[in-house]
């Protein structure tokens, strides 16, 4: 990876991500449309997408904002949903030695599932420039999609008539379904679902999400055999990075 001139890896990363660009774009547009439907202003939807830039957690936050959940509950839930970034950041970090800290602080904001998967699939350890090329493509596609969805979303008048309110839980269920590979995964997912339903019936607000999510995952990490997790040097650990 040359640091002078146009690093070849940058282009490689961009090209390797093109296959993902359409679906990230559509995902962004769905988010933009639903968020406007839920009552956020277009500026808020775009601002959230640029400042938070983490699709799953944004999908989580919008119905909570719409339901008037306490701000703290929304922020803590966002944090927990995005905790997977720690894993990706730790895997990517060594590839970025030699970058200036200011750049690192900016690049950190661009950590995302798809670019991580692309960079890790191409080389281990991942190449910094491939990662950056991918992050450019993915962030552009996501924010562009959100902008388009925001513009189109206002067109639908009674979203629940078209089942659009169900799009939020549907996205979450689809994201879980693709990650369930081992028997332990099922145990954790079902355990969390059962505990969350039980808590939702007794706890106010949306605290059941954070409480059930953290409790059951921590319990799982404590009692499940650790060889269930990939060897520390393997970046497989992140669910979507391990497709191969």
């Amino acid at each position: 990876m040359t640091r002078l001139g146009l690093p070849g890896g940058l282009r490689d990363g961009l090209v390797a991500s093109l296959a993902l660009v359409p679906s990230v774009f559509v995902y962004g547009s769905v988010f933009g449309g639903l968020a406007v439907q839920a009552g956020l202003t277009p500026a808020q939807v775009l601002g959230m997408s640029v400042l938070v830039f983490a699709g799953a957690s944004q999908f989580v936050a919008v119905p909570m904002i719409a339901a008037g959940a306490p701000a703290l509950a929304i922020v803590v839930t966002t944090y927990v949903v995005n905790m997977r970034h720690y894993l990706m950041a730790a895997t990517l970090a060594p590839s970025f030695r030699g970058f200036r800290r200011l750049w690192l602080a900016l690049i950190a904001h661009l950590i995302n599932d798809e670019s991580f998967a692309v960079a890790v699939a191409r080389s281990r350890p991942p190449d910094a420039w491939v990662y950056l090329g991918s992050a450019a493509a993915i962030s552009g596609a996501f924010v562009g999609g959100v902008a388009v969805g925001t513009a189109l979303g206002g067109l639908v008048e009674r979203p629940e008539r078209y089942g659009l309110d169900f799009a939020f839980p549907a996205v979450f269920l689809a994201l879980v379904a693709v990650q369930l590979r081992r028997r332990a995964d099922w145990l954790v997912a079902i355990g969390a679902a059962v505990l969350a339903v039980a808590l939702a019936l007794v706890l106010p607000g949306n605290w059941h999400i954070v409480v059930a999510g953290l409790t059951v995952s921590a319990l799982g990490a404590r009692v499940l055999p650790v060889e269930d997790a990939p060897a520390p040097a393997e970046p497989h650990a992140y669910p979507q990075g391990g497709h191969e």
């Binding site: 679906s23 808020q44 601002g47 959230m48 400042l51 938070v52 799953a56 957690s57 944004q58 904002i65 719409a66 008037g68 306490p70 701000a71 703290l72 803590v76 995005n82 997977r84 720690y86 894993l87 950041a89 730790a90 030695r97 690192l104 602080a105 690049i107 950190a108 904001h109 078209y162 089942g163 659009l164 169900f166 549907a170 996205v171 979450f172 269920l173 689809a174 994201l175 379904a177 693709v178 995964d185 954790v188 997912a189 969390a192 679902a193 969350a196 106010p204 999400i209 954070v210 999510g213 059951v216 995952s217 799982g220 499940l224 650790v226 997790a229 520390p232 040097a233 650990a237 992140y238």
Partner: protein, 141 residues
């Protein structure tokens, strides 16, 4: 849920623009169920900070040593626990009670999206089919 949010300082801050003299949240706050614009921005700001805190620390530390295996396992399990914790109550709990009847369209939508996605159907296509199922069942019901 609106009741509890009103006692939070953020909520009061949100009301302040409209009714500066209103102390506390008893009456004036409660008007139409409109979310104050500044409160939403406050939430977005909090989300941005919280998310940056999941990205930057490990990245800036340029850690040489990988995370301990148990921690890696935990971080891998968190989304697997949080997503069902989020989705399943949205489907099964309505107004603080269990909604388990077969006439509950989201239940069917949930089954459809789960099976399709688990079988490797594209995520957005699975969601679109499930949404259509829910819309159809509501139209029929």
């Amino acid at each position: 849920m609106n009741e509890t949010s009103c006692v939070k300082p953020e909520a009061r801050h949100g009301c302040a623009g409209a009714r500066p003299s209103a102390g506390g949240c008893g009456g004036p706050c409660r008007g139409p169920p409109r979310r104050s614009v500044s409160r939403v921005w406050l939430v977005i700001g909090g989300m941005a900070v919280a998310t940056y805190l999941t990205r930057a620390p490990m990245f800036l530390a340029l850690a040489r040593r990988p995370l301990p295996p148990r921690v890696r396992l935990w971080l891998r399990l968190v989304p697997l626990a949080v997503l069902p914790a989020l989705a399943v109550p949205l489907v099964l709990v309505r107004d603080g009670r269990l909604a388990l009847g077969l006439a509950h369209p989201p239940l069917w939508g949930a089954a459809v999206v789960f099976v399709l996605a688990a079988r490797g159907v594209n995520l957005l296509a699975s969601v679109a089919v499930a949404v259509a199922v829910v819309a159809l069942l509501r139209a029929l019901g």
